[in-house]
């Protein structure tokens, strides 16, 4: 009994102890859950959930033809943890040499020894973050991943990657300045800057929770803000034209060792800018880069290209006619204390010519004399006329950084007696190249002045958000009779004037050269070539203008400096290229050429119905004496077709080989095989020779060879 009591007692004791333990656990659980619970839950939430920004993808910029002009590409900052738990001394030391060699050869920024030292010291100092290289491309990252040590994997290799998005221009420097950029705290440039609000999109934000394995999962509590990706922009730039423009500009700039230059190609009817290139020389070398948008930004003295506007105003006021005569005085005329000179002295022409000729020769004396004759007493009228063209107002372009024009005003302190004559030939006022082009474009566009546009449409996920239609700035810059005269003058410049080197037989160019002196500190230095600005502005084809273009070459210092030889060839090259690739631009071949081609007509002999069908489809008339014959022979002579009947089938039935000459292969083979001959055919075209003579007899199964040509 004692023993039994003892056991029971012990059991109770054990039971009590275990129960107490259980109760203690329950109490503790309760305490943790409900007393400390709030604190722990908060801490848990902080560790595993957070508001995270979901970055919006910036929109792309496309060329007119769908090529990518600008897009976002990921770039990577790579660093290494050289003290991971799994990276043993053996592993590290075995790979360090080869890794240093690889890194050095990939990035080429540090010597092998430097990389070696960098990694070695970091390892010895117990560092866990060594910067290897900033913003490397995806391609380089893939190579890097296969380097010794790094290829051992995330834990042994210790590679740390941080991804950033950067703007990438697939065509590199093509229209780089016009595509531009938008960065924080920097003046916006180009399309990226102008349409930043569309391109950028809106970053989203969401409450995310971290699950095992480090994956962030959105918590669906309705407060999430979805990111709005940026819109895409389709620009008006045509990559092929842009390419030609930039290439030929670069070639000419190098040839003439010029300081900088620019080109714009515009569609006459819509004002769409198809190509825009701006190149600046770097230092004194022969490398040129897009550094500044001269086309829109550089407001400067236009020089001779301005003469068109002077004459436009004068003709519009009814004061001047292209047939008026003017004495060029041997290319020199004195106004007050200054001498106006012509660029070239041509003795024969330097006397009395008409205004049209003075313009074609780009005579400063001629144009300034004509303008002064009529406006010296009323300069305000001249300036008002110019302002009606809008040259005193900027174009208000969408892309930022437009240069402001400056036009002198009579009655102010800086209006002198010499201002008017020099103004009439493009000095003493400033305007941007694009402004000049806009007015020339208006002349080409029957007087309708359209605003230059860089953007065609804004789209989002392929859906149209905004379409940019042509904007008419001025429905008529002048009367149609003035316009006609102006265009005749511009055509004359290329036909027999200063730009006759641009003349060609395929299509006509109309335009105006300019060779302006560049003022430095208010002085024009005539001696040095480097102080000239050569330009050419015009449109083509002259009779039905489709495209207008301006070329400016600034400070050419080698191989000539006149507008026709420095800027002209660039214009010509672009025009040639554009003309060759524009399907609609070339006039149809006229009827005489078509007739000439008809004379070489050749029609194969063959099945009658087929032949008639072909004639019918091509709308060709023929004289037929074939009657109901099912086979015909055709003869073309002097563009009349005569068709006569024949019957090779019947001859074959009689066992005689017919004359198959000029018959088409299909019909010939049909006939012969029906007569159980074995036919082999060589060449293509109509039958020229046959191995069995016409009129000879044949046996079934005999072989006949037909030669076609």
């Amino acid at each position: 009994m004692e023993a039994k009591k003892d056991i029971v007692l012990r059991t109770y004791l054990l039971y009590t102890l275990i129960s107490l333990l259980g109760i203690a656990i329950c109490v503790r659980v309760f305490y943790v859950q409900h007393v400390e619970g709030v604190k722990w839950k908060k801490e848990e939430a902080e560790f595993t959930t957070s508001f995270r920004t979901i970055e919006a993808v910036r929109g792309n910029i496309y060329a007119e033809d769908g090529n990518l002009l600008a897009t976002s590409l990921p770039y990577f900052d790579v660093a290494m943890d050289v003290n991971t738990e799994y990276m043993t001394d053996d592993v590290f030391n075995d790979n360090l040499d080869s890794l240093s060699i690889c890194l050095s050869s990939l990035f080429k920024d540090k010597a092998t020894r430097e990389y070696y030292k960098l990694l070695k010291t970091a390892r010895d100092n117990g560092e866990r973050y060594v910067m290897i290289h900033h913003s490397i491309s995806y391609d380089d990252l893939q190579k890097l991943k296969h380097f010794p040590l790094i290829r051992l994997g995330k834990y042994k290799g210790g590679l740390i990657i941080a991804q950033n998005n950067r703007r990438e221009l697939p065509f590199q420097d093509l229209a780089e300045r016009t595509i531009g950029y938008a960065r924080e705290n920097v003046q916006p440039v180009g399309l990226e800057g102008a349409y930043d609000s569309y391109l950028a999109g809106v970053n989203g934000q969401g409450l995310m929770t971290k699950t095992a394995g480090g994956i962030w999962v959105p918590l669906n509590n309705g407060e999430n803000l979805q990111p709005q990706n940026g819109c895409d922009i389709t620009s008006t730039i045509n990559i092929n034209y842009q390419d030609v423009a930039e290439q030929s500009l670069r070639t000419q700039l190098i040839k003439h060792h010029a300081n900088h230059g620019c080109v714009v190609l515009m569609e006459v009817k819509t004002g769409r800018v198809l190509a825009i290139a701006n190149l600046t020389r770097k230092d004194s070398s022969d490398t040129y880069q897009e550094m500044y948008n001269y086309v829109t930004g550089e407001s400067m003295e236009p020089g001779s290209t301005f003469k068109l506007f002077s004459l436009l105003v004068a003709m519009e006021d009814g004061l001047v006619n292209p047939t008026d005569t003017v004495n060029l005085e041997g290319g020199q005329h004195i106004y007050y204390d200054r001498t106006m000179k012509d660029a070239e002295h041509d003795d024969e022409e330097a006397r009395s010519v008409n205004v049209q000729r003075a313009f074609e020769l780009s005579s400063n004396v001629g144009i300034s004399k004509v303008i002064c004759k009529h406006y010296a007493s009323q300069p305000q009228k001249f300036v008002d006329g110019l302002c009606r063209l809008g040259i005193n107002q900027p174009l208000h372009l969408s892309i930022p950084g437009e240069g402001a024009p400056m036009v002198p005003n009579p009655g102010t302190n800086n209006w002198y007696g010499t201002t008017l004559p020099w103004l009439s030939v493009g000095y003493g006022l400033t305007m941007t190249p694009l402004q000049t082009l806009t007015i020339y474009n208006a002349v080409a566009n029957n007087g309708v002045m359209v605003k230059p546009q860089f953007i065609d449409a804004i789209t989002k996920d392929g859906k149209l958000v905004k379409k940019f239609e042509p904007i008419i700035m001025n429905p008529a810059i002048c009367s149609s009779s003035t316009l006609k005269k102006l265009r005749a003058m511009l055509e004359g410049v290329v036909l027999r004037g200063t730009a006759s080197n641009l003349r060609n037989t395929v299509y006509a160019i109309a335009g105006k050269t300019g060779t302006a002196q560049i003022a430095s500190k208010g002085q024009y230095k005539v001696q040095s070539k480097a102080n000239y600005r050569a330009s050419f502005v015009g449109y083509f084809p002259a009779d039905k203008p489709e495209y207008s273009c301006i070329v400016i070459v600034n400070s050419p210092s080698a191989d000539g400096y006149y507008g026709n030889i420095t800027a002209g060839p660039i214009f010509r090259e672009i025009a040639d290229k554009v003309y060759a690739s524009s399907i609609g631009i070339d006039p149809a071949i006229d009827d005489t050429t078509r007739q000439a081609k008809n004379n070489n007509l050749f029609v194969k002999n063959g099945d009658a119905d087929d032949t008639y069908n072909v004639f019918k489809a091509l709308d060709m008339k023929c004289k037929s004496s074939a009657g109901t014959s099912s086979w015909v022979e055709c003869n073309a002579h002097d563009s009349t077709l005569t068709v006569t009947g024949c019957n090779p089938e019947k001859q074959l039935q009689k066992g005689i080989i017919p004359d198959l000459k000029n018959m088409n292969a299909e019909d010939a083979v049909y006939l012969l095989e029906n007569a159980h001959l074995k036919v082999s055919v060589k060449g293509s075209g109509a039958v020229r020779e046959q191995s069995l003579e016409p009129g000879s007899s044949y046996t079934k199964g005999q072989r006949i060879t037909l030669k076609l040509s």
Binding site: L174, I215, D243
Partner: protein
Amino acid sequence: MAFLAMIYIANGYYAHSRLKDLDSLDNSIGELRTQYIIAKDKLMYLSKESELDKATTNMGLKESVIPPEKIVVYNKSKKK
């Protein structure tokens, strides 16, 4: 009860592994898109006319500056 609990746990694991898959697929989409853009980028640059010109001069090919002749078909039946 125990059975239901097991199903519940298994379901939780399953869902989690799907999330993991999703995440890794997302990553590979991103990577493939990058590869695509980079490849396209290179192709576009190389197919630019001046680059083509450089590449084909050795082959004796030159650009034509003569506009092509066109054949215009007037469809009489559709023309009113």
